[in-house]
């Protein structure tokens, strides 16, 4: 069960992944394989089984409310392609 080309394009758009036209077919068939696996899982009778939030049977440890992180702005800014006045610069996006 392959995923149609339109769905592949929509998923690529949502995930911001560039998929060239030549590879659409291959991606579509591979996604189809994944969905087949999901179909098999969905065939299992899960009545009365609560949804699992995490595979580990454990609960989250919380941390006390304390500021423990020093200011490392200059190090982080140095990793960005562009920065100015302490800000990361990105292409303008306004929706």
């Amino acid at each position: 069960m392959a995923v149609d080309a339109q769905t592949v394009e929509k998923l690529a758009e949502l995930a911001r992944i560039a998929i060239s036209e030549e590879t659409v077919e291959e991606v579509s068939s591979r996604l189809g394989d994944v969905l087949q696996l999901v179909d098999r899982l969905q065939a299992v009778n899960t009545e009365g089984v609560p949804p699992m939030a995490h595979p580990l049977d454990a609960v989250q440890v919380l941390r006390p409310d304390e500021v423990t992180e020093p200011n490392r702005r200059e190090e982080f800014l140095a990793l960005a392609p562009q920065s100015e006045e302490g800000l990361y610069l990105v292409p303008k996006v306004i929706d």
């Binding site: 409310d65 423990t68 200011n71 302490g86 800000l87 303008k92």
Partner: protein, 487 residues
């Protein structure tokens, strides 16, 4: 046709924790950009979020205040979307198992009526950073600047049922949420700094109709006043469209306060698809019964309980009690004045009258009031012991507001002490009677039932002569004696 407006609100409240929801970076407002954004907030590879216990405590306190169920187990999910101020590419939030379940609060309206608004749920989530689109950069023409200080700050998103039927009800609900979070001390609730933000879902339907109309979501409403205006203008827009035979498009709209209009926000209509899934980095959080019961017993007195106590203990009207308990600082101010002056009713009148007018005029909060609770108590004490009349008290109040010192200082310096000395008042009464032959004549010829009213003229003249300082009760007594002697 009679239309009914249906409103549901989504309120985001920034929690006043010292550190972020999932990292140990600070949350201080106004810090230089990106100085409070650590590797976790920046989504550096290999980082792992660890939730802040205090954020859970605050969220659970809020739930208890809303008479809501507290999720004994809550789960974080990823809401996936791309925007430059969201470095991870997803917001960590809650969906299926939020910390606060269904609840209910009572809102109070101007006409003294009240109604219940149901809470759908409230969940914990992280805030995004800030994009600066307007700034101009030397090294990047037409680029946006990103400040990630706010990224990861804990929020609770409070989602109501569509239970409100007017803009006024929506404002009352929002004010109630504001009161509760500030009473609890879990947020500063400052809308101007974005600590509290509100989106409104608005639809209209014909009165009596059961089905909800198509709704629009209004974003960017950042003051109580704009909530009122935005809802009104959007409801009018929808009614106009429907009355012209059109239909409403379900969409997100932005409220523009300068133009007082709403406009569509989506340029290209790609339906949102957030592809939520449980966050694999975070385990479910469990809060046990003991924890919740301890929180419950440590809850402070909340606005409704305080208002009830004010009615009972200080014999205030329902209206005054509501007015004085909306903000914790106002309630505390009132109790100080009431206790120090021993005159709760006068304290309430002065606070809802002169003081409220002063704060409104100066656009300041009660914490910034130039007239302190001690000042007001002192003023009321002088009013009560007859040192000044209520008319003069207003002058004294204004002088205190102008920084001339406390009531005693102002009364002394300006010589405003009320004259109760009968000798001095008698002299003034005699003079006025002597100079008002015509009015005295009228008084004598008038029917007895009309005389009390006619005394007003004389009282006014005497007050004028005394520069408002003569004790009105003494004037009345002496004046009546003297006039009656002339009959």
């Amino acid at each position: 046709m009679e239309w009914e407006i249906v409103i549901g609100l989504e309120v985001h409240v920034q929690l006043a924790t010292k550190s972020k929801l999932f990292s140990g970076a600070g949350t201080r407002f106004g810090a230089p950009p990106n100085t409070q954004a650590c590797a976790v907030d920046l989504a550096m590879p290999g980082t792992l979020p660890v939730p802040n216990a205090e954020a859970f405590r605050y969220a659970a306190m809020f739930g208890l205040a809303m008479n809501a169920e507290i999720g004994r187990r809550s789960v974080f999910e990823r809401k996936n979307y791309f925007y430059p101020d969201l470095p991870k590419g997803y917001q960590t939030t809650q969906l299926a198992e939020p910390i606060v379940g269904p609840g209910e609060i009572e809102i109070h309206l101007e006409d003294n009526s009240s109604r219940k608004v149901r809470l759908h749920h409230a969940h914990l989530e992280e805030d995004a950073g800030k994009s600066l689109h307007e700034a101009v950069f030397e090294s990047g023409q037409g680029m946006s600047g990103i400040d990630l200080n706010r990224a990861g700050t804990p929020l609770i998103e409070i989602v109501s049922e569509p239970d409100m039927r007017s803009a006024a009800e929506a404002v009352a609900y929002l004010k109630k949420i504001h009161s509760i979070v500030t009473y609890l001390g879990i947020s500063d609730g400052d809308m101007s700094q974005g600590s509290m933000r509100c989106d409104a879902n608005v639809s209209v339907r014909l009165k009596g109709e059961k089905e909800l109309g198509t709704r629009t979501e209004l974003k960017n409403i950042n003051s109580f006043r704009f909530v009122d205006k935005a809802i009104k203008v959007e409801a009018e827009r929808q009614i106009d469209i429907l009355e012209d035979g059109g239909s409403i498009v379900q969409e997100t709209r932005l409220y523009d306060s300068d133009k007082n209009e709403t406009r569509s926000m989506r340029s290209k209509e790609v339906a949102n698809d957030y592809r939520y899934f449980p966050c694999p980095d975070l385990l479910p959080v469990e809060l046990d019964e003991n924890y919740i019961e301890t929180l419950r017993s440590d809850m402070p007195e909340l606005p409704d309980a305080k208002a009830a106590r004010f009615r009972e203990q200080y014999r205030l009207s329902a209206y005054d009690a509501d007015q004085l308990t909306q903000e914790l600082a106002t309630a505390e101010f009132f109790e100080t004045v009431a206790k120090q002056s021993g005159e709760p009713k006068l304290a309430a009148n002065w606070m809802t009258g002169e003081l409220a007018a002063l704060l409104n005029r100066e656009e300041i909060s009660i914490e910034q009031s130039p007239v302190s609770a001690e000042h007001l108590a002192g003023l009321i004490a002088r009013l009560k012991d007859g040192t000044i009349s209520s008319k003069i008290a207003k002058q004294v109040f204004e002088a205190i507001a102008d920084g001339e010192g406390d009531a005693d200082t102002v009364i002394e310096k300006r010589g405003l002490k009320q004259v109760s000395d009968t000798g001095a008042i008698e002299k003034m009464v005699d003079e006025v009677i002597a100079n008002s032959a015509k009015q005295v004549e009228n008084y004598r010829n008038a029917d007895e039932s009309k005389r009390p009213k006619m005394m007003g003229y004389f009282v006014g003249q005497i007050m004028k002569a005394s520069k408002g300082q003569a004790n009105p009760q003494v004037i009345n007594r002496i004046l009546k004696e003297k006039l009656d002697a002339l009959l």
